[in-house]
Symmetry: C2
Subunit: 224 residues, 2 copies
C-alpha cells in the first residue's frame, strides 16, 4: 500500500523515529477504534469533540443531528483534524522524566463534504459496523425520517501520520544501576458482561455481534 | 463547589440534558484520566494531539520538549481546547440510529502560559502523580539539565463543560416490541500483568505505585 504525502502539517517532529506515513499503519490504528477526536476552528477558537467514526478506504464518515454546530462548521469545507489514539501501556522508567506511554495514534488532515441522501445509509452502515461488526443485520435499519434528520459527512484523508511507541523504558545510561523497578504496565480496553435493557424481554439471548466483540477484545490483549 | 460560566463556546447544544457545568463533575472526569487531546490552530489549520496532563485546581499542566511545535504555539497565548474522554460502554439499541455510547467527556477552554523555572518541578510532579500515584517517590527526580530541556505550560480553565451519558438504550416507542436484544456492553481500561524491563535486575519486585494502580483499575469497573 502507498504512503501519505509528507508536509510540514503531518511530519512527526518529536521522536521522528516513531512516525509512520504508510496507509497500512494508519488504517490499522483507525480500524482498531471507533471514537475519534475531531478538531475544528470557529473564528480563532479551536474545538475538540469526541465522536464516532467509520473508515472506508481513505474516507472517514462522521454523523450527527442536522443541527450539530460541529457538522455545520465542517460542512463549510474548513480544515479538519481527526485524531484516533490507543493507549497501550504506562512506561515506567527509573527516572521521572523518562516515564512515557506505549501508544498508537493517527492524526488525519482533510476537509469534509456532505454525503448525499442516496449514500447516507451506506455511510451509516460503515460507522455502525466499525463500532460493532455484524450489528447492522440484527437491528431495525434507518427509516426515511431518521435519515432526514441525520447529517453525514465524509472526510477524505489528504495527509496523515501515525505515531507508535512500543517496548520497555529507555533510561539514561547511569540510571540503569538504580535499584528502581522499571517496565511496562499494559493497558487495554476490556469488556464487562453485557447488561440487558431492563425494558427488554429477558428471554432474548446476547447476539452474535456482542459475543464476537467480547471474544475479539479478550483476544487482542496488548503486549510489550 | 462552583460552576464554570456558560457561553456560546462551552454550552452543550446537542442533548443538553447531558451537559454539566459544575467544577466537581468536570474535575472527576479529568482526575479519572491522564491522556487529553489538545486542540490548537496554526493559520487556519486545527491540530489535535494526544498528550499527558496533570490537574491542580483549575490549572492543567502540559509538558514536552522545548522544541515542541505544539507547546511553542500554545505558549503564544492562542486559544486552546483540551478534551478528556472516557468511553464507558457501547449502547446497543433495537434500531441502528439509536446506537450510542455511555461516556464521560470534559471539554476545557483557556489559554496557556509558560511555567517559570522554579515551579517546573512541582508541575511535573502533578503530571507524574496524575498518571500513577506514588511513583514520584520511587524514582530519580529531574536533574537540572532535564528541567532545562523540558517546557511546561499551565492552562487555566476559563470555561468548561462535561457531557455524560449513562444507562440503557432509548428506542422509539414502537421498536420496544421488536425481538432484538438491546442493552449495554460495558467497557473499561484494564491493566495486564506488569512487564519488567529485561535490562533490570529481575529480583526487584513490582512497586506499590503499580500494585495500587492495578487494584484501583480493577475496583473501578464501569456500571450501567
Amino acid at each position: 500500500m502507498s504512503n501519505y504525502p509528507k508536509s510540514s502539517r503531518n511530519t512527526v517532529k518529536r521522536s521522528p523515529k516513531r512516525g509512520h506515513y504508510d496507509k497500512e499503519t494508519v488504517y490499522q490504528i483507525l480500524d482498531a477504534g471507533y471514537i475519534c477526536h475531531i478538531g475544528f476552528t470557529i473564528g480563532d477558537q479551536p474545538y475538540v469533540i469526541p465522536n464516532a467514526y467509520g473508515r472506508e478506504g481513505d474516507t472517514i464518515y462522521l454523523h450527527g443531528a442536522v443541527g450539530s454546530r460541529m457538522l455545520n462548521q465542517l460542512e463549510k469545507g474548513t480544515p479538519v483534524c481527526v485524531t484516533v489514539t490507543h493507549t497501550d501501556g504506562i512506561v515506567l522508567a527509573r527516572s521521572a522524566m523518562h516515564h512515557s506511554f506505549n501508544y498508537r495514534s493517527a492524526v488525519l488532515f482533510g476537509t469534509a463534504r456532505l454525503v448525499p441522501d442516496d449514500q447516507k445509509e451506506q455511510a451509516l452502515f460503515v460507522i455502525t459496523e466499525q463500532i460493532i461488526k455484524g450489528r447492522w443485520d440484527e437491528v431495525r435499519t434507518p427509516s426515511e425520517q431518521e435519515l432526514k434528520v441525520t447529517k453525514v459527512l465524509a472526510m477524505k484523508i489528504e495527509e496523515a501520520s501515525a505515531k507508535i511507541r512500543t517496548g520497555p523504558p529507555k533510561d539514561d545510561e547511569a540510571d540503569y544501576e538504580l535499584p528502581v523497578w522499571a517496565g511496562v504496565l499494559p493497558l487495554r480496553v476490556a469488556t464487562g458482561e453485557a447488561i440487558p435493557d431492563p425494558a427488554m424481554n429477558q428471554a432474548l439471548s446476547v447476539p452474535d455481534s456482542v459475543n464476537n466483540y467480547i471474544q475479539g477484545s479478550t483476544a487482542s490483549k496488548s503486549v510489550l
